[in-house]
Subunit: 280 residues, 2 copies
């Protein structure tokens, strides 16, 4: 299977590695606007060939993976579908409603399967690509009924072989749930970093005192704005909704601490502890 990967970053690159390692591809063509990224991807053996000819790269492929930031995705995906015959096309994007509206009614809509691998790190670019990023994680397939059955079957088989669990959601539900369990984590992490950078002028003290707990909650604050701003833009309504709830929860805790109602704080923490029943 020849795979063309458009966008040689964390997700595109990691997928390129994983497909190769599992013996699922014979040839990987990489397309990226950045010459530096193409060079890096070749040097890191993420791809077998770099191309600047999108049409030829799509034409030669059996599978086309579009792994660009969500703002570019809105233009690149329709472009790719314009070029497609019987190839299967997937995106790997973090928001779906706006994207799927953009390609609704496209004559090649059936060849496209909208997927979101729930996996990532705070790093970006070809050098961030890692083996086994997708192992034991969830792949969400959105609006599967809009895709040709053979294309869905092929995508299911492929990601199952990457050891992913497959879930099915419609685009609206996907965008709602990812606002809860992914987008809000990034916003709180960015805000936490800004808080500490604002309040703690003695950087040496942050460095010396910060333990694993702080590093863990603030880790996502290293994430790329080029990736995340388009996600917040496209999932704005859900993100605002969850953010409102989160600010409300923080204000409630603040009020209880301010009023020294520590038995209520205790109760709130016990409630928060229930998250351990859900997460491992």
């Amino acid at each position: 299977m020849i795979v063309t990967i458009i966008g040689l970053g964390l997700i595109g690159g990691s997928l390129a590695i994983s497909l190769k390692e599992k013996g699922l591809t014979t040839h990987r063509i990489g397309v990226d606007l950045s010459a530096e990224n193409r060079q890096k991807a070749l040097a890191l053996h993420l791809i077998d060939e770099a191309s600047t000819d999108l049409a030829a790269a799509v034409r030669r492929a059996d599978l086309v993976v579009v792994a660009v930031p969500m703002d570019a995705m809105l233009t690149v995906l329709p472009q790719v579908l314009d070029l497609v015959e019987q190839q299967v096309v997937i995106d790997v994007g973090s928001t779906k409603s706006m994207l799927l509206a953009r390609v609704a009614g496209h004559t090649k809509r059936g060849r496209f399967v909208a997927v979101h691998p729930m996996a990532g790190t705070e790093y970006s670019g070809p050098e961030a690509a890692v083996s086994e990023l997708f192992d034991d994680k969830t792949l969400v397939i959105c609006d599967a009924d809009q895709s040709d059955a053979d294309a869905v079957t092929r995508v299911e088989a492929l990601f199952s072989l990457l050891n992913m669990r497959i879930e099915y959601l419609d685009a609206a539900a996907h965008d709602l749930h990812t606002a809860y369990v992914s987008h809000i984590s990034h916003i709180t992490s960015f805000a936490l970093a800004l808080t500490v950078l604002e309040k703690e002028k003695e950087e040496q003290q942050i460095f010396a005192l910060a333990s694993g707990g702080f590093a863990s909650t603030v880790r996502l604050a290293k994430s790329s704005p080029d990736m995340w701003v388009p996600i917040f833009r496209q999932n704005r309504v859900n993100v605002l909704d969850v953010l409102d709830e989160h600010i409300k929860q923080l204000q409630h805790l603040r009020q209880l601490i301010d009023e020294e109602d520590f038995s209520a704080v205790h109760q709130q923490i016990r409630q928060a502890n229930l998250i351990s029943k859900i997460l491992k």
Copy 2:
């Protein structure tokens, strides 16, 4: 060296393991109000002997470690100092101002060295104790000038042998900086867990979709209220101050997203990214 450890939880237990592994103790006496914790600590080989006789356990020790939650600390530490002759006593508490005020002027104040190992996990109890918890972490010694020089020297030597970096702060500065880099992380994590538990009624979706990023930011929400409520109580003023700043940052991001001022969001995220210069 005979070590008496009062409070056989995550920190007391981990210290017991580390001291033994480094060959720094010949005998470890464990004191805990909970018979179950004493039994577990014996079974897990965290201690060599369990005792319910605080006076005898302190009398026989060369080093006394008080590792109880901060509310109990306020009564246990003065009790221990009442029993002390020439032993060295350390706490391992997360807040210092209130505690040090409590023992100021005690005739044995000099035997006490206030330390805070900046290390922990979201788990608690004897079974949470792990080897190498303190390895390559920072130990803060507070108000070292209030302790006898020989006691400070001994504590410095001991924790250096556990491969900890030593920093010196006065109690007020300690409480301020830990509010920034430790206490606030826990509050945001509790609030995030409450947000998701409140908004996301379909627990199966949290479980299926939550990736590493969410798990990382919400990890601390598993932390024990029995440990954290006394910390928030004793460091209330600093915690409220940092919490106000954090809510302000979240409201600012919320406003920018609401107004669709995404170039400003981009700028904020780039600012937040600076945290990676400080943290590894």
